[in-house]
C-alpha cells in the first residue's frame, strides 16, 4: 500500500473510531459559551505533543513498524509497557525505575486509539483550565492528578502486582474533575449520534435553525457527573474484586476525577478570590 493509500485508510479509521466513540456516549469536543482563552493554552498543546511523540517515536514502531509473523514480534512493545507502566511492585520492591514510573506511565498509551481518545478529552477540558491556572500551575496540577490516579488505583486495588497501567486518562480525569469544580455551568459541545437523533424532535419543536446539527451541547456539570457515575460501578468492582474491567482502569479514572478539588491549590490567586468571595469586576 502506498503512502497515499495508507493516509486514506488512516483517515477512514479515525472517522470510524470517532463514530464508535460517540455513537452511544457523547464525545466532548470543546467547551463553548462564555469561553475565551486569553492565554494561549501552550501547556495543553505541549502535553498533547509530548504524549503523541512518546507514542509515535517510541512505542508505535514496536506495534506498527514490524511484520507480524507472530504475537511474539510484539514483545518489545510489551517490554516497554511492563517496564515503564505503573505497577505497585515497582514501588514496593524497588524495580524498574521505581516511583518515576508514575510519570512515565502518564505519557504512554496502549495503542493509537487510546492516545487519540485521551487527547480529545484533554483538548476539550484542558484549555480552559490552563487559562485559569497559567501553564506551570496547570502542569503541576496535571501531574498531581495523574499521581493521585495511579497511586489510588493500586492502593485501593486488593490484588497486588497485576497488570501495568499506562495512559494519561487518570491525569485527564483530574482535569475534568477540576473543570467541574470551576466551571460547572459551562457548556460542552459533543459529538453524539444517538443524542443527535433524539434531539431532532426537540429542535424541531423549539424551532431551532439547525435541526440536523451533528453536535449536541450539554451542561458541563451533567456531562462530568455522568462521567463519574459511569466510572463508579466498575471502580467498586475493582476495589472489591481486584480486577480491571475489560482492561480499563476505571478506578484510576474515578480517583483522578476525585482529585479535581485540588485545583483550588493551583488556580490563580485573583480567580480563587473571586471563586471564594463570588466577586467579579
Amino acid at each position: 500500500m502506498d503512502a497515499f493509500g495508507a493516509l486514506i485508510s488512516f483517515a477512514l479509521a479515525v472517522l470510524l473510531v470517532l463514530f464508535e466513540m460517540s455513537v452511544i456516549y457523547p464525545l466532548p469536543l470543546s467547551d463553548i459559551g462564555a469561553v475565551r482563552y486569553r492565554t494561549m493554552p501552550t501547556m495543553t498543546y505541549l502535553l498533547i505533543i509530548v504524549n503523541a511523540l512518546v507514542f509515535i517515536a517510541w512505542q508505535a514502531p514496536d506495534i506498527y513498524g514490524v511484520e507480524l509473523d507472530s504475537y511474539r514480534d510484539l514483545q518489545p512493545y510489551m517490554d516497554k509497557i511492563w517496564t515503564y507502566g505503573y505497577r505497585d511492585v515497582f514501588m514496593t520492591e524497588g524495580l524498574s525505575i521505581g516511583a518515576f514510573t508514575t510519570f512515565t506511565s502518564m505519557f504512554m498509551h496502549g495503542d493509537i486509539w487510546h492516545l487519540f481518545g485521551n487527547m480529545i478529552f484533554l483538548w476539550a477540558f484542558g484549555r480552559r483550565l490552563e487559562d485559569a491556572c497559567g501553564p506551570w500551575r496547570y502542569l503541576l496540577f496535571y501531574l498531581t492528578a495523574g499521581m493521585v490516579a495511579n497511586l489510588g488505583s493500586v492502593v485501593l486495588n486488593p490484588v497486588q502486582g497485576e497488570l501495568p497501567s499506562v495512559g494519561a486518562s487518570g491525569a485527564i480525569a483530574g482535569v475534568m474533575g477540576a473543570f467541574l469544580v470551576l466551571f460547572p455551568r459551562a457548556r460542552i459541545q459533543c459529538l453524539w449520534f444517538i443524542g443527535m437523533i433524539l434531539w431532532i424532535p426537540y429542535r424541531a419543536i423549539t424551532r431551532q435553525e439547525n435541526i440536523f446539527s451533528r453536535y449536541i451541547v450539554l451542561p458541563a456539570g451533567l456531562f462530568l457527573l455522568y462521567f463519574a457515575f459511569r466510572e463508579l460501578l466498575p471502580s467498586l468492582e475493582t476495589i472489591t474484586q481486584g480486577d480491571n474491567v475489560g482492561g480499563v482502569n476505571n478506578l484510576a479514572h474515578l480517583l483522578g476525577f476525585a482529585a479535581g478539588p485540588l485545583i483550588l491549590l493551583f488556580v490563580r490567586k485573583d480567580l480563587l478570590v473571586r471563586f471564594i468571595t463570588r466577586r467579579a469586576v
Partner: protein
C-alpha cells in the same frame, strides 16, 4: 367599490336625480382627486360647467385617458363646432391640476391597471403657471345636464369600477406592462425636468408610484426633487405611504426617519427606528448609524432599547455588542458592559476580537491590596507544591504513607518552603511586611490606570466568564525589589530540587540503575489506564 368610485356615483346621482350641480361638481372633483384616470368622471365633470373652454378641457382629459372614447370624441366635435371659436382661439387654459400635496393624495394605495399615459412632449414652460398652486377649477354651472350626457351613466361598467387592486410594493412582481408604464413616467418626468417644469415632473413620479408605491428609482428622485422644492412634507407623505403599504425597502425607511426628524416628527421617526433595527435587510452599519443618531440626540436609554431589540435578531453581531457595551460603560453600568464585551469577544472574528479584549483588559478583576498582601494566599499556592511532593514521597515509600522516612517528610516540608519562595518571587511579591523588610517600594501605576470598581455579581455564572490577566492595578503595597525576587526564586527552586531528591530518594538510584522487572509473555493481557 373604492372611495373614488363611490364619490363618482354619488356625483352622478346628484347631477341626474337631484340636479345639484354644485354638489355633483364637488363629488366628482373629489373622485378625480382619488382617481384621475376615470375618463367617465372627466366627462361627467364637463357637465357641471357651462364654460365651453372648461368643458373642452374636461373632454380632452377624458380623451387623453382613452382616445377612442366615442362619447368624448363626439362631445369634442360638438364643442369645437358650436361657438367654441373664441375658446379655440384663446390659448388653452392649463390643465386642471391640484397641488403637489393633492397629487400625493391622489397617489392612493390602489392603482388602476391603466395609469394615465404621460404626455408625448412637455409643454413650454412659459405657458405654465406654478400649477400646483392653482385653485381648484371653479365650475359655475347651475344648469341642467345636456341630454347627450344622459347615456353616459350607463357607459361606466361595473367591472371598471371594481377594477382596482392592492398597490404593489417591491415585494410584488411587476408585469411588463407596469414596468413599461413606470419607464414612461420616468422618461416624462425627465423631460419635464429638462423643461424646468418640476411640478409636472413630480406629477409623473406620483403616477409611477401609483403603480409601485415604493419603486426605488422613482421614490429616490421624487423625494429628492420634493425636498429641493422645499416640499419636504410631500416627500414625507410619499415615504409614509410606501411604509404603510409594507415596503421592504430599507432605504425608504431610513429616508423616512431622516425626513420625519427633519420635520420635527420625532415620535414617528422613533417608531420607524424601532421597526428598522429589526428588519432583515439592514446591516450592522445601518443599525449603528441609527444608534449614533439617537446618541447624538442624547437618547442613550432609547439607544439601548433598540440595540436590545436588534440583538435579538443578531445575537452574535460583534459590532452591535461592542456598541451596547460602550454605551453601558459610558453610563457606568460596568457589570452589564462587561457581559456585552465578553459576548463581543466571543462573537468577533480573530481580528476584531482583540478590540473587545483590549477593552476587557480595563475590566480585569482587581484583587485588593488585602489579598495581594495575604500570606495565606501565598501559602495556598505553596501547598500545591507540597501536595505534589507528598504524593511523590508516598509512592517512593513503597505506597505506604506510614512508612515514609524522615527524609521523605523533610522533602515534603522543604517543598512547602521552596514553593513559598517561588510563589513569593513570581506571584505574591507584595506580601505584607515582607516587601517592606527587603526595601520594596510601591509600584508605579500602570499606564492608563485601571478600573478598581468592585461590583457584586455571580462570577462563575455561564454568562460571565472568569476574567483573567496580569495584576497591573493600582496598589499602595510595596513590592519586593527585583534582586530580592531573584533570590527568592533561586532559593525556592534550589529547595524544590533538594526536596525532589528527598521525596524520590529510593527512585533516583533506580532511575540511574534500573532493575529489570519480570516481564510476562506477550500473550498476557495488558491493562490500560
Amino acid at each position: 367599490m373604492n372611495d373614488a368610485q363611490a364619490l363618482f356615483r354619488e356625483g352622478v346621482l346628484a347631477l341626474k336625480e337631484q340636479r345639484d350641480v354644485a354638489r355633483a361638481r364637488q363629488l366628482i372633483t373629489q373622485s378625480l382627486k382619488l382617481d384621475p384616470n376615470n375618463e367617465m368622471a372627466w366627462l361627467w365633470l364637463s357637465r357641471t360647467t357651462d364654460d365651453p373652454a372648461r368643458k373642452l378641457q374636461c373632454v380632452e382629459r377624458a380623451l387623453k385617458i382613452n382616445p377612442a372614447n366615442d362619447q368624448a370624441l363626439a362631445l369634442r366635435e360638438k364643442l369645437a363646432g358650436g361657438g367654441m371659436s373664441s375658446a379655440a382661439a384663446a390659448p388653452p387654459a392649463p390643465p386642471k391640476r391640484s397641488s403637489i400635496h393633492d397629487r400625493l393624495e391622489n397617489a392612493s394605495l390602489v392603482h388602476h391597471d391603466t395609469p394615465p399615459e404621460p404626455p408625448a412632449a412637455p409643454p413650454a414652460p412659459a405657458a405654465r403657471a406654478p400649477q400646483f398652486m392653482q385653485p381648484e377649477p371653479e365650475v359655475d354651472a347651475a344648469q341642467d345636464p345636456p341630454p347627450e350626457f344622459e347615456a353616459l351613466r350607463d357607459l361606466v361598467p361595473e367591472e371598471a369600477i371594481e377594477s382596482t387592486q392592492s398597490v404593489k410594493t417591491q415585494n410584488d412582481r411587476l408585469t411588463p406592462e407596469e414596468e413599461r408604464q413606470i419607464e414612461k413616467h420616468l422618461a416624462a418626468a425627465e423631460a419635464r425636468l429638462a423643461a424646468e417644469d418640476e411640478e409636472a415632473a413630480v406629477e409623473q413620479y406620483v403616477y409611477a408610484l401609483q403603480i409601485q408605491v415604493d419603486h426605488p428609482q422613482v421614490m429616490q428622485r421624487a423625494v429628492r426633487l420634493l425636498h429641493q422644492m422645499k416640499y419636504t412634507e410631500d416627500a414625507q407623505e410619499l415615504l409614509n405611504r410606501a411604509i404603510e403599504a409594507g415596503t421592504p425597502s430599507l432605504a425608504i425607511h431610513l429616508t423616512a426617519i431622516d425626513v420625519n426628524r427633519m420635520l420635527g416628527n420625532y415620535s414617528k421617526a422613533d417608531v420607524l427606528r424601532e421597526k428598522v433595527v429589526q428588519m432583515d435587510a439592514i446591516d450592522d452599519a445601518g443599525i449603528l448609524k441609527i444608534i449614533d443618531s439617537l446618541l447624538n440626540d442624547v437618547q442613550g436609554a432609547r439607544a439601548i432599547e433598540l440595540l436590545e431589540k436588534a440583538l435579538v435578531k443578531r445575537p452574535n453581531s460583534h459590532d452591535l455588542l461592542m456598541k451596547m457595551a460602550d454605551i453601558l460603560e459610558d453610563q457606568g453600568r460596568k457589570v452589564q458592559a462587561m457581559g456585552y464585551y465578553e459576548r463581543a469577544a466571543r462573537a468577533g472574528k480573530r481580528g476584531n476580537r482583540k478590540q473587545a479584549d483590549r477593552v476587557l483588559q480595563t475590566f480585569i478583576p482587581v484583587i485588593t491590596d488585602h489579598e495581594r498582601g495575604s500570606v495565606v494566599l501565598a501559602l495556598r499556592e505553596a501547598a500545591g507544591f507540597t501536595a505534589a511532593y507528598l504524593f511523590m514521597a508516598w509512592q517512593d515509600s513503597g505506597l505506604n504513607l506510614l512508612r515514609m522516612s524522615p527524609g521523605h517528610w523533610l522533602g515534603v516540608g522543604l517543598s512547602l518552603v521552596g514553593g513559598y519562595c517561588v510563589v513569593t518571587a513570581f506571584s505574591s511579591p507584595q506580601q505584607k511586611g515582607l516587601a517592606a523588610l527587603f526595601g520594596g517600594q510601591v509600584p508605579a501605576e500602570p499606564e492608563g490606570g485601571k478600573h478598581t470598581q468592585q461590583v457584586e455579581v455571580k462570577p462563575w455564572e455561564e454568562d460571565i466568564a472568569m476574567p483573567s490577566g496580569p495584576l497591573q492595578d493600582p496598589t499602595s503595597l510595596p513590592i519586593l525589589p527585583g534582586w530580592a525576587r531573584m533570590i527568592f526564586a533561586l532559593v525556592g527552586m534550589a529547595l524544590l530540587g533538594v526536596a525532589f531528591y528527598l521525596v524520590f530518594n529510593r527512585a533516583i538510584p533506580l532511575l540511574l540503575n534500573p532493575v529489570e522487572p519480570e516481564i510476562p509473555s506477550i500473550l498476557d493481557f495488558i491493562g490500560e489506564g
